[in-house]
């Protein structure tokens, strides 16, 4: 305990601009926090493992239980449904990042560590951005495992590797967008448990009133319109197209997002990120003030 006298020497001068510009600081701080969250995921692997089991069960259950009964593009061949289904399962899986981000942030907000973060000269949004980036990494890992399982049960892409990669990129962007919705939920509730359930409940109507599991054209009119304009449907439709998984004779609905799913998916995701990131950062700043 000898180095107390370095106190004055090492102190950063007041008001000095960070060694990195404001944007640089924000990026760097976010990465530092993301690293912290990734280390935590490695130390608590149960969370990641349970996150994998559910989508794998969905792949298997939907493929073999519903596969023979759902007609897609006029065909009841189970393998046709399997091709059709996978983009839906992938998209549903990435949206579950919402619950993870929400619970993680709610948990952080109730621990002393948040006071430490808030008393440090770090970028204000970095605690949240770091969390959503770490969730993005986790989501990407989950998608990789899920794609392997999908290939095992017979799923294939038919439009070439670059388009398939673009499809996965759109899915991840949607997952990232949804983790910002989760962040806002996590900041708005009192306990991590509430963030988990609050982060999940609305995902069920969102993902089922869509084209993810069944074509939307058999739904009642109101639901059909919702399904066609659902941001989630746009990404599912875009991924299906990029994977070459739309069966021959599949009637593409006339709604604009279904006609231009790649654009619709991009726009929806970016809008969600901008809106929910701003709301979340503002909420974080005033959380205890």
């Amino acid at each position: 305990m000898s180095t107390v006298s370095d106190a004055a020497a090492k102190a950063v001068p007041p008001g000095a601009p960070g060694a990195f510009g404001l944007v640089g600081r924000s990026v760097r701080d976010s990465l530092v926090v993301a690293k912290r969250n990734l280390i935590r995921m490695l130390r608590i692997p149960e969370v990641v493992i349970f996150g994998l089991i559910q989508p794998i069960m969905f792949v298997v259950l939907f493929s073999y239980v519903f596969g023979g009964s759902i007609a897609v593009g006029g065909s009841t061949d189970p393998s046709t449904y399997r091709q059709f289904l996978m983009a839906g399962i992938f998209a549903q899986t990435v949206t579950f990042a919402t619950a993870g981000a929400g619970a993680g942030i709610a948990d952080d907000m109730h621990k002393g560590l948040i006071d430490r973060f808030r008393s440090l000269p770090m970028a204000r949004g970095a605690v949240l951005t770091g969390r959503t980036l770490a969730d993005l990494v986790q989501t990407a890992l989950t998608l990789v495992v899920l794609a392997v399982v999908a290939v095992i049960v017979g799923w294939r892409t038919h439009a070439g590797i670059p388009k398939a990669i673009a499809g996965f990129a759109l899915l991840l962007l949607l997952g990232y967008a949804f983790s910002w919705i989760g962040a806002l939920i996590g900041l708005s509730v009192r306990t991590p448990e509430a963030a988990t359930s609050g982060g999940l409940i609305w995902l069920f109507p969102l993902t089922f009133i869509s084209n993810a599991f069944v074509p939307s054209d058999n739904m009642p009119t109101v639901l059909r319109h919702i399904a066609e304009w659902n941001p989630f449907s746009a990404t599912v439709q875009a991924a299906r197209r990029l994977f070459g998984n739309l069966p021959d004779g599949y009637p593409v609905p006339a709604a604009w997002p279904m006609q231009h799913p790649v654009w619709a998916s991009l726009i929806w995701s970016l809008v969600i990120i901008v809106v929910f990131r701003s709301l979340s950062v503002r909420k974080y700043r005033s959380a205890t003030g």
């Binding site: 305990m1 006298s5 106190a7 102190a11 007041p14 008001g15 280390i39 006071d115 003030g289």
Partner: protein, 347 residues
């Protein structure tokens, strides 16, 4: 020229509770101010305002010459905060925690690495550096938390009840660290519920109650205001009480108090240990056999009773401030119950 920590008219309300009700503080550079008060007095709220964690409803504050409300980010560069609830990530190792904090203080990752190693060594955490913080004992966590607050060797430090809940050995260790810091020129604001702690560490003490500073001064000044020291004698034989009473009256500066059933005679005095020796000699000369004799100094309870008319221990309507603080102070209370603090006999 205002001090390193300066606050004027701070007011903060949470719902109906006025956690801060016009607090003024002035801590000269290089000195220690002890903010002394019971649970819910507003100590934590004051620290949270000064460390930019919450905004006051009214009033102003300047830390290291920087306006806390106008330039919070600049303030964050020059302060360190260590609280009663160790603010470390349990799933990160000690080393990872300190590196992360260093980087978030905008140090390069190399500098943060070097600094983390230095601090781990200095706080005797070298052996546990690569274990997750959740495996640490309470004292180790507190040291890690303090180390995190010292990553940039901030010129101004805030410690919110740094030793609450620690065992005496860990408390002593932490006191030594704090004294070293102060010797190095750091300005420190420390909150505590223990008069002994404020006595030991602080140059000046501000007593807080119901969001107000109700007294300030050195610990000697405060004790003097509470009536100061007293001598207590327990005689062996009941028939000696009267003589002892007569002797004590001669040395005291006030009324004596006699408790027949415990054979105890008490008198307020000034003059400390030297006087105690004289009392003993005199009693001896008169042939009075004594079972016990002690010079008692005022405790936090005495200070509070004399300043506020109520004891520090009572928590009646003191809910602190807001949900967060309410929650914390609740925990604090449990710790206090487990570890009642009583000042021993000074002789």
């Amino acid at each position: 020229m205002p001090g390193a920590i300066f606050a004027e008219g701070l007011v903060k309300t949470f719902g109906d509770v006025r956690a801060l009700d016009g607090v003024d503080l002035d801590v000269p550079e290089g000195t220690v101010l002890g903010l002394l008060g019971p649970n819910g007095a507003g100590k934590t709220t004051a620290v949270r305002v000064l460390t930019t964690l919450i905004k006051p409803d009214r009033g102003s504050a300047v830390v290291a010459g920087i306006d806390v409300l106008k330039h919070p980010d600049a303030v964050r560069r020059v302060i360190g905060l260590s609280g009663q609830f160790a603010a470390v990530d349990e799933y990160l190792t000690g080393r990872e925690n300190l590196r992360m904090v260093g980087q978030l203080y905008q140090m390069s990752s190399r500098a943060a690495r070097v600094r983390a190693d230095e601090l781990l060594e200095r706080f005797h955490l070298g052996d546990a550096a690569d274990r997750m913080a959740k495996t640490y004992s309470g004292g180790m966590r507190r040291r890690l938390d303090l180390a995190a607050a010292l990553v940039v060797s901030p010129p101004v430090m805030f410690m919110d009840e740094p030793t609450t809940g620690l065992d005496p050995r860990n408390r002593q260790q932490l006191w030594e660290v704090i004294q070293e810091l102060v010797a190095g020129g750091t300005t420190l604001l420390l909150t505590t519920q223990y008069l002994e702690e404020a006595d030991h560490l602080a140059h000046d003490i501000a007593v807080v109650d119901h969001g107000r500073v109700i007294a300030r001064g050195t610990s000697d000044q405060l004790k003097a205001r509470t009536g100061g020291e007293r001598v207590e004698v327990v005689v062996h034989a009941p028939e000696h009480i009267a003589v002892a009473d007569e002797v004590l009256r001669g040395f005291g500066k006030g009324e004596t108090k006699i408790e027949e059933h415990t054979r105890k005679v008490t008198v307020p005095v000034s003059g400390g240990a030297k006087l105690l020796a004289e009392v003993i000699r005199e009693l001896d000369t008169r042939g009075i056999e004594i079972d016990d004799i002690a010079l008692r100094r005022p405790t936090l309870d005495d200070v509070f009773i004399s300043l506020t008319g109520h004891a520090a221990e009572t928590t009646e309507d003191e809910t602190g401030g807001g949900e967060r603080e309410g929650e914390r102070e609740g925990e604090e209370e449990q710790e206090r119950e487990q570890e009642p603090e009583r000042k021993g006999t000074a002789s």
